[in-house]
């Protein structure tokens, strides 16, 4: 599995994709940080130390949705298009190692993205701000788990096609549906809304941002990722009866 992780990291960085995605994420989150900070300083009255980070992490979530499908779109679609997937299958690697290796590489880039944004709170320290370490840690954990769920969805869709563009477009659509599930509370009855709330990926993030780590939310996000990764492994296994293409 480490062979696949290393190979994917080499590809991410030598194709510049990882640099571009991380740099864009840091630049745009930096802008969010600047505008959120200005908003809190100008309007005042809010709980600056806690409220600011909730806004900031919520904004970063939005941008993660934009960028993460770009990290997963090529993982399998490109191997299919090049024909290199066929070669991977002849090495003594199990399908689950191939999938987990690629997934782990994408998770590492996500970690790098998130780690880079820790710079912003550090910038406030010289100004004497106190950081709500516990709440921020919970928020970052939630954001990482949510990102992991995005990536698992993206990797499955990438394994279904040999077109990167199609993989990205479908991933965006699926993730947007998971976001929009609970937008219109008036459109559905109470029991259905309850079910939709359970399924919604994005609603799972709010408790983390408030500083609470609920095992139900953690389990849901982990389960979501596990299910999509398992489907990806099964999807690779379909060559047994469907052939290589």
């Amino acid at each position: 599995m480490t062979a696949v992780v290393r190979k994917e990291l080499v590809s991410y960085f030598s194709s510049l994709l990882a640099y571009v995605v991380v740099a864009l994420f840091l630049a745009v989150s930096g802008f969010y940080f600047y505008s959120n900070l200005s908003f809190f300083l100008l309007s005042g009255g809010y709980d600056l130390t806690r409220g600011l980070w909730q806004y900031q992490l919520l904004d970063m979530r939005q941008y993660m949705l934009t960028l993460l499908p770009l990290l997963t779109m090529r993982l399998f679609a490109e191997e299919r298009r090049l024909g290199t997937l066929e070669l991977l299958w002849t090495y003594p690697l199990r399908d689950v190692e191939i999938v987990l290796g690629k997934y782990a590489a994408a998770l590492l880039v996500l970690l790098l993205m998130l780690a880079g944004t820790l710079l912003y709170p550090l910038l406030l320290l010289p100004a004497g701000a106190s950081l709500p370490i516990g709440a921020m840690a919970a928020g970052y954990l939630g954001l990482f788990l949510l990102g992991a769920a995005f990536l698992s969805c993206g990797i499955l869709i990438s394994a279904l096609t040999d077109s990167q563009v199609l993989a990205a477009a479908v991933t965006y659509s699926v993730l947007l549906v998971f976001w929009a599930l609970t937008w219109n509370e008036a459109a559905v009855g109470a029991p259905v809304l309850w079910l939709l709330r359970q399924l919604s990926l994005f609603d799972r993030l709010y408790p983390f941002l408030r500083g609470g780590i609920d095992t139900a939310d953690v389990s849901y996000l982990l389960l979501f990722s596990a299910v999509f990764v398992t489907w990806t492994v099964q999807c690779l296994g379909a060559r047994r009866w469907r052939g290589v293409k």
Partner: protein, 317 residues
């Protein structure tokens, strides 16, 4: 060695390979021939462990490709058609990845990569990106990943397709140099190439084994009906009437000023020559037509489709 035993591979309702059996002995190089869509690549993919057989067994180095997949794959190097590659990786980075993926011992990886680079003449371009290399070099990169780790079995699918004649010769020499120590299956649709590299040929068509023999043996088996070409210093029509009646001539016709004879056996040559000289004509040409491998191939494939599953399917001689 490779043992393919009653291999059948189905995709849904489609049977890509139908009850194919053959064995490649240790150190043997076998040519694998068949028209496009014959089940050639599917057979090779089953040997390479890409998907398991629907029924039958395939063993690589004695290990079942389905039940002992890991052990079988460790003994195998595969070169897929079209030599797929990662354009953004350098040759060295790529081989370092393959060395890990093949689970070569950590301490030996560097030596293995250096060995594969040297064997394929890639040492000079090891830091170049594969995507920037010429097609001939990329093909060598494909071969080098198959060779990495010194596997006892090599499965090479159309290793020379899409190359210019010079590059074809280079790759062919490379494959020739690998013979002896390894068990090799080498597929191609260029028959002359297979006959140069392989000691034995397996022909497959419509998912079925059509023939299995040495290139010379195949030619001999099909030479039952021999063709002679005759030309003399006389009008072709006159020559035709003179030799059409020679004992053993089954058919005679004039083609472009020559007489084409289909004869029963070798002795007819002497009788034809005697008849011509009796008439005091001078023989300008008397030649036996050699069946090219293309002719043999087409004839076998045609016979097999005429009598599917019939006696066209031969065992090993």
């Amino acid at each position: 060695m490779i043992q393919v035993c009653h291999l059948t591979k189905r995709f849904g309702d489609f049977t890509a390979v139908d009850d194919v059996s053959f064995t490649v002995e240790p150190g043997e190089c076998v040519g694998f021939l068949g028209p496009n869509g014959s089940g050639k690549t599917t057979t090779m993919r089953v040997i390479a462990g890409i998907f398991p057989p629907s029924s039958g067994t395939v063993r690589v180095g004695g290990y079942d490709v389905r039940r002992e997949a890991g052990a079988a794959r460790r003994r195998l190097g595969y070169f897929p058609e079209n030599a797929p590659f990662y354009p953004e990786m350098s040759v060295e980075e790529y081989l370092a990845f393959v060395a890990r993926a093949k689970r070569l011992a950590a301490g030996r990886r560097r030596a293995h990569v250096a060995g594969a680079l040297a064997a394929c003449g890639l040492a000079g371009v090891r830091r170049r990106l594969i995507g920037k290399l010429s097609k001939g070099y990329r093909q060598r990169v494909g071969l080098s990943q198959a060779l990495l780790g010194d596997p006892e079995v090599l499965v090479l699918d159309e290793a020379t397709s899409g190359l210019d004649p010079g590059q074809v010769a280079e790759i062919r020499e490379l494959v020739k140099s690998l013979r002896g120590r390894r068990t090799i299956v080498f597929s191609s649709h260029i028959l002359s190439e297979v006959s140069q590299v392989a000691g034995r040929v397996v022909i497959i068509d419509g998912g079925r084994l059509v023939a299995e023999d040495s290139p010379a043996g195949l030619a001999a088996r099909l030479a039952g009906a021999r063709t002679l070409w005759v030309r003399a210093d006389v009008a072709p029509a006159e020559l035709l009437t003179a030799i059409a009646g020679v004992d053993g001539v089954e058919r005679a016709e004039e083609v472009d000023g020559r007489i084409r004879l289909v004869v029963a056996d070798e002795d007819v040559v002497a009788r034809v020559s005697r008849r011509v000289t009796q008439r005091r004509w001078v023989i300008l040409e008397l030649r036996r037509e050699e069946l090219s491998l293309e002719d043999i191939f087409l004839r076998l494939v045609r016979d097999a489709s005429r009598a599917p599953g019939g006696d066209a399917r031969e065992g090993r001689p």
